[in-house]
Symmetry: D2
Subunit: 384 residues, 4 copies
Amino acid sequence: MKKICVVIGSRANYSSIRSVLKSISLHSNLKLQLIVGASALLRRYGSVIDLIKKDGFNINRKVNMIIEGESPTTMAQSTGVGLLNIPPLFEDLEPDIVLTVGDRFETMATAISAAYMNIPLAHTMGGEVSGTIDESIRHAITKFAHIHFPSSNQAYDRIVRMGEQKENVHLVGCPRIDIVKEIIEEEPYTKISNRIFDQGVGEKIDIDNKFLLVSQHPVTTEYGHGKEQILNTLNAVKKIGFPAIVLWPNADAGTEDLAKGIRNWRERGKSSKIHFFKNLPMEIYIQLMKKTLCLVGNSSSGIREGAFIGTPTVNIGTRQAGRERGENVLDTDYSENDIINAIKSQIDHGPFQSEKIYGDGFSGEKIAKILSSKKVSIQKKITY
Amino acid sequence: MKKICVVIGSRANYSSIRSVLKSISLHSNLKLQLIVGASALLRRYGSVIDLIKKDGFNINRKVNMIIEGESPTTMAQSTGVGLLNIPPLFEDLEPDIVLTVGDRFETMATAISAAYMNIPLAHTMGGEVSGTIDESIRHAITKFAHIHFPSSNQAYDRIVRMGEQKENVHLVGCPRIDIVKEIIEEEPYTKISNRIFDQGVGEKIDIDNKFLLVSQHPVTTEYGHGKEQILNTLNAVKKIGFPAIVLWPNADAGTEDLAKGIRNWRERGKSSKIHFFKNLPMEIYIQLMKKTLCLVGNSSSGIREGAFIGTPTVNIGTRQAGRERGENVLDTDYSENDIINAIKSQIDHGPFQSEKIYGDGFSGEKIAKILSSKKVSIQKKITY
Amino acid sequence: MKKICVVIGSRANYSSIRSVLKSISLHSNLKLQLIVGASALLRRYGSVIDLIKKDGFNINRKVNMIIEGESPTTMAQSTGVGLLNIPPLFEDLEPDIVLTVGDRFETMATAISAAYMNIPLAHTMGGEVSGTIDESIRHAITKFAHIHFPSSNQAYDRIVRMGEQKENVHLVGCPRIDIVKEIIEEEPYTKISNRIFDQGVGEKIDIDNKFLLVSQHPVTTEYGHGKEQILNTLNAVKKIGFPAIVLWPNADAGTEDLAKGIRNWRERGKSSKIHFFKNLPMEIYIQLMKKTLCLVGNSSSGIREGAFIGTPTVNIGTRQAGRERGENVLDTDYSENDIINAIKSQIDHGPFQSEKIYGDGFSGEKIAKILSSKKVSIQKKITY
Amino acid sequence: MKKICVVIGSRANYSSIRSVLKSISLHSNLKLQLIVGASALLRRYGSVIDLIKKDGFNINRKVNMIIEGESPTTMAQSTGVGLLNIPPLFEDLEPDIVLTVGDRFETMATAISAAYMNIPLAHTMGGEVSGTIDESIRHAITKFAHIHFPSSNQAYDRIVRMGEQKENVHLVGCPRIDIVKEIIEEEPYTKISNRIFDQGVGEKIDIDNKFLLVSQHPVTTEYGHGKEQILNTLNAVKKIGFPAIVLWPNADAGTEDLAKGIRNWRERGKSSKIHFFKNLPMEIYIQLMKKTLCLVGNSSSGIREGAFIGTPTVNIGTRQAGRERGENVLDTDYSENDIINAIKSQIDHGPFQSEKIYGDGFSGEKIAKILSSKKVSIQKKITY
């Protein structure tokens, strides 16, 4: 049995790897080891660990690693806490392969730990460009990883051009799309009840009628501008006039700044017909993406899941710069007016055709299969 | 005044950047900030910090970061200690640019700290290949760095191919060569007195006669084989029959293993005509490289400084795999016989012509000049 | 100039030492060094650091040290982060004496750092009993401290009985009382405007009429019971019927639990005539203590400042067990009925006479004077 | 089954608790959990972990925690690394009681971790006085511990006077004496072969003839004086004229200083008739204590085991100040002459009568029995 150790550090991490966990669990030659840490342990990000348990996965170890502060300094220090605490877990669990997801500080800590400890490292979502510090982290992890699972053609191409051996780069699509497919196809989205609005803050929205969906996160390289950025978006949404569902920003340097903007705005009484959620279960979120007039903000979901679902999306600012996108995405800068115009244009267009840019819904199975048979040399060689 | 903060973590780090420190100090628009940490603080690696002070540099902060154990696990954890302690120093010193050297765990901690804190990162010695975990670290740092100072043509080329903007990659040569040049040209090497043998352990060697020089370090990806590897080398040297000077291995995962091999060998009475040094001042070492019949082991010095000096070099095993090399280097595997044959062949050849592969002796000045005028965007963009 | 380094980690820490900082700053032989860290850096605890700056103190260094989670595990780990980061600051600042406050994890980290580094340690608020893990920490710090500044007779006595040299134990009173005195005497409490209710959540309270004041914190040794405890208190207050001002719980293991209780309660629509504050400036809080019918909860303020002010106080549960108290305090357990009866009884009594149990309002000056002349042996000796 | 988790951090820790481990293992109601860390993992302190395995104990977890530097700063920081890494182990192992030994930084980290995590803490060797920072740590740990196992009458008395409940203080003697008894009684000391001198450095000593035994460690509060102190001792021993066995100093702030003194002295050719050992198995050491003319230095063994064995002991300086001692100990200061006179006087006297000051040889069994039946309240109460 080949032991595959996956480190999950956030809600986004989890939904990006859940279908892989399932496929590993079901594979006869693989044994899943699960380490859950960082914001996935925290109640203020919705206790993702409870969700993981509820989904039936056994958690082998936990790792606290976030130093409070949400500043650039504490993000770097949090990586340090991870690096102090993850290596002993690997020493104890003795995985054959470590599988890490994406581009966050817990991903970095995981990658360095595995690399120093001579454990082959597999990485999903490498090779993408996004326009923040996350991009540097993502590419740095590519330089540590032994097995690459890019989710798009362009990502595959970039990994190979960065000097990775082609035989170790596997274009499998994004495992999140597996879940999106399942939700869209198997669960009739009529299922969302209005009881979801018992959670969160603000008025109930009638989701069988027209509404907007907003998801905007801090941009770490634009630290200090987050409050102004979110206010432009909220004001634009307000002026469009349809009811809106607003998602709370992710934990990152600058989150507190956006959160303050949202709170002030709310306290100035501007939030009628707006409902705020700290977190939404992915099944609900995907269904909202399917039903919304337009998704507004800088979440990668508009670009990735949006391509598959066909959600009209207004993508604001630099956070997703360079990410491969389909017809459904319209880009704007941070100006309130431009945001308004973009939303109007997307509403006029309506839903788009599904595109398979980020996967066809079978990534998990493909990854598990490759992991089960893959042999790698621990000593990496650049191709040039 | 532009503040350039340099983090120095080891003896090798220091001699690789010393001429740059000097040039920064002398530059009218630059202010040098110095953080000294990791093994550079430790007596058992020769208290490099004292050397730095003696050279007239002011040390702004110190950072303890090595967790004892010299295992893969503790190397990863040491990176973590660095990441907990370096960010507050940057917050306090507010550098305009952080300059980091090479490929060690303190380099990694420095790079991640700067990257998360949105401080432009400059990096020397990127783009080289070497065949250990250090190579992954080096390339990962390239993906974090905003300004690159490769030391060779091939290194320059690799950095560009990895997707870095050409305008940010500056082929300047290796700053160590600046010092080598100075030593070779200005200080007559007749200066080494036999009193150097008051240090270290073993018989005095007459360095005006024929002798071998040995410098062999652990290979982190071959953890557990170090003892056997060093014994083959020592036995080969012994059989060649000339007196030899043996350098103690660097601090790394596996050092203790080699050290044990050396100690056992010594205790078995095999070390007549051999002198062991824990550390040698670079001025002495370079002069020994100029005088020795042949340098044996896996130190990068044979390849880098060796090219400039023309030292006949036998390079053993994988540690320097892929590193650009001149005529002076003959590669072998770990077998005792092959090592013997290679040494004989190099002794027969004698000194080689100087080659400028790793620099012409003016790298420090070039780097300081570029740093003083360089403007970078904190948001990196991959070129493809 | 004797350098006195004070480490401040929370809002409570700061108000407990502010008058001392002022006296040290004004003293001709003392130089104040200030390190601010832990929750004092965090926005969600009201950015105490900004308050400190506003009060005119220069901050020498900052230290991030809280690992998110608010669980017993992360509290211990946060102490660890403190111990990794505080020693280099002491090495850099070279204080003659370190002064630490109270009994929190940042206090523990400060004490151990100073002790190992052979820096004389002074400690305020030692010798008190309180009935939580804080008590063990407080006494442990006493065993590290070289100079003790207890605030009450009983505390003085306990420190001496624990084996500390009498000559190093100075009964000075609690420096918080210095500020209380100033607020009560110099600032007419008519000054509080109703604009304070622009902050916080809930209805405005008319503080010129009858109202209750509630301040209840988690009890770390009763981890898991916090929600039920706070609900009993809130229900009792509700039944008494007067408007109430409720303070948000301190950061500690279990805070999230109480917070959840409060939020649920609020969402169930029970909070009419209640106003919630995350934080209140001490000047406001003390004036509210002066005006309230009764202070309810388990805050030490009812016992300490309450004695000086004469505030009728209902103290609930074990958190303040064993703390020396005046006539103004009535103790109850966690039952709703007992809380109701106690509040009624205190309202009937009305304001109490001032008692000087915890100081006379001149502690800061006394402490500065002692620090300026004190000579201590770094080698402690137990008296038996 | 009650789970008893023991954290072992050094060779001295291990031999002080080994008989307890054995008794816990054999007890039908107890389950032993073992965490091994700090210097017990390091080869340069003799890989104590291998010894523990060889003795048949199962090791549940390892914890790296020593930051290199051996300075006061790194000792404090090492405590921090321990506090970051031990709490997750406790969370994972869920012990019913944590048992900690003595007064080192790993002991402190263990104690704070258990205390914050509401796990009852048992402590051996509390209440003793010794005259270094270790004493402050020891007493601080007493203030965290719920169950105390002092080894002498005076220690018992001090713990009670510090305010601990008598019912939780159990005078059991020192578990090291259990092993001493076993070695002295069961293993004829004729068993030591001269082959022990294959280890270490220097001439072979004939231990069936007269010889001295030297064991001197750094005094943390006299940091910087170690080299001079050890040289006085070595010179005194040299002048007495008998052959001598010298033990290498313990890992502590200042070790490197003593080590340097020893190395210089040795290199100046002064070490004829002297044999140096880095470590000695306890069975050998105890037998040497039984056979030596006199034990010289500042090791606690002369006072503790020495009382039981009757070894003539010269105790130098402050390190053991205040420790309860028997007839066998003669104290001196650091002057060479006084040391010489004291050694002569002890040699004249010869072996002393056995005294049971530190136990009768059955401590392990007593401790296991108490742990199996003990019920403690997690909330400690000082007795006054």
